[in-house]
Symmetry: C2
Subunit: 102 residues, 2 copies
């Protein structure tokens, strides 16, 4: 079931990015994480067979229906704006390090 | 036929934005144009019944397969990066004025 699958991914991985392959906003978060050398679990919702169910489950769980949808250390971070805001305020790397993703 | 439809829209309108309703990159171009008070023709390719045909025709015609796909004064401008680059180099408003969209 989609919600359980999403929650298990989040508890099993320091960083999880729920994304879509064609989306530039998702691409910029992935690029940032790649440039920083972050270890992250990536789920492309347009490719996964249950992608739309996962997106609906995430909407229920986090109140966020959009992609990218990012979790760090089991905590819901938000979308691209939230990730880049953390980057700008120099809070991103501490969070990633604490989650052992860096 | 999709290519003729796209070309007719471009020749009949000072500014045309081919877009998708769910796309943040498209949203930022539309927001820029709205903030500037630009008159533009908007085609949401995920809503139009022949949207995918139009996107394929645009790819053929402009070599650009992505959205947003922007034309000003009949000239192919490109995507969001191109529009914001013109904005940054102060070339956007002159182009829009020349196209009588501002
Ligand atoms: N401000 C948000 C924008 C999120 C957003 O609007 N995402 C779009 C794609 S760019 C979306 O999920 N649209 C609905 C969908 O794809 O299901 C962020 O920073 O992540
Ligand atoms: N750098 C380009 C990005 C264009 C792009 O990758 N667009 C994506 C949506 S954000 C796209 O068209 N993906 C394929 C599709 O939706 O058919 C720009 O500035 O516009
Ligand atoms: S689909 Fe275009 S930015 Fe996300």
């Amino acid at each position: 079931m989609a919600l359980v699958k999403a929650q298990e991914l989040v508890s099993a991985n320091g960083v999880v990015v729920f994304s879509k392959t064609y989306c530039s906003y998702c691409a910029s978060v992935k690029k940032l994480f790649n440039d920083l050398g972050v270890t992250y679990k990536l789920l492309e919702l347009d490719v996964e067979s249950d992608g739309s169910e996962i997106q609906a489950a995430l909407a229920e769980w986090t109140k966020q229906r959009t992609v990218p949808n990012v979790f760090i250390g089991g905590k819901h971070i938000g979308g691209s704006d939230s990730v880049f805001a953390l980057r700008k305020s120099e809070k991103l790397i501490p969070l990633l390090t604490e989650a052992k993703a860096l």
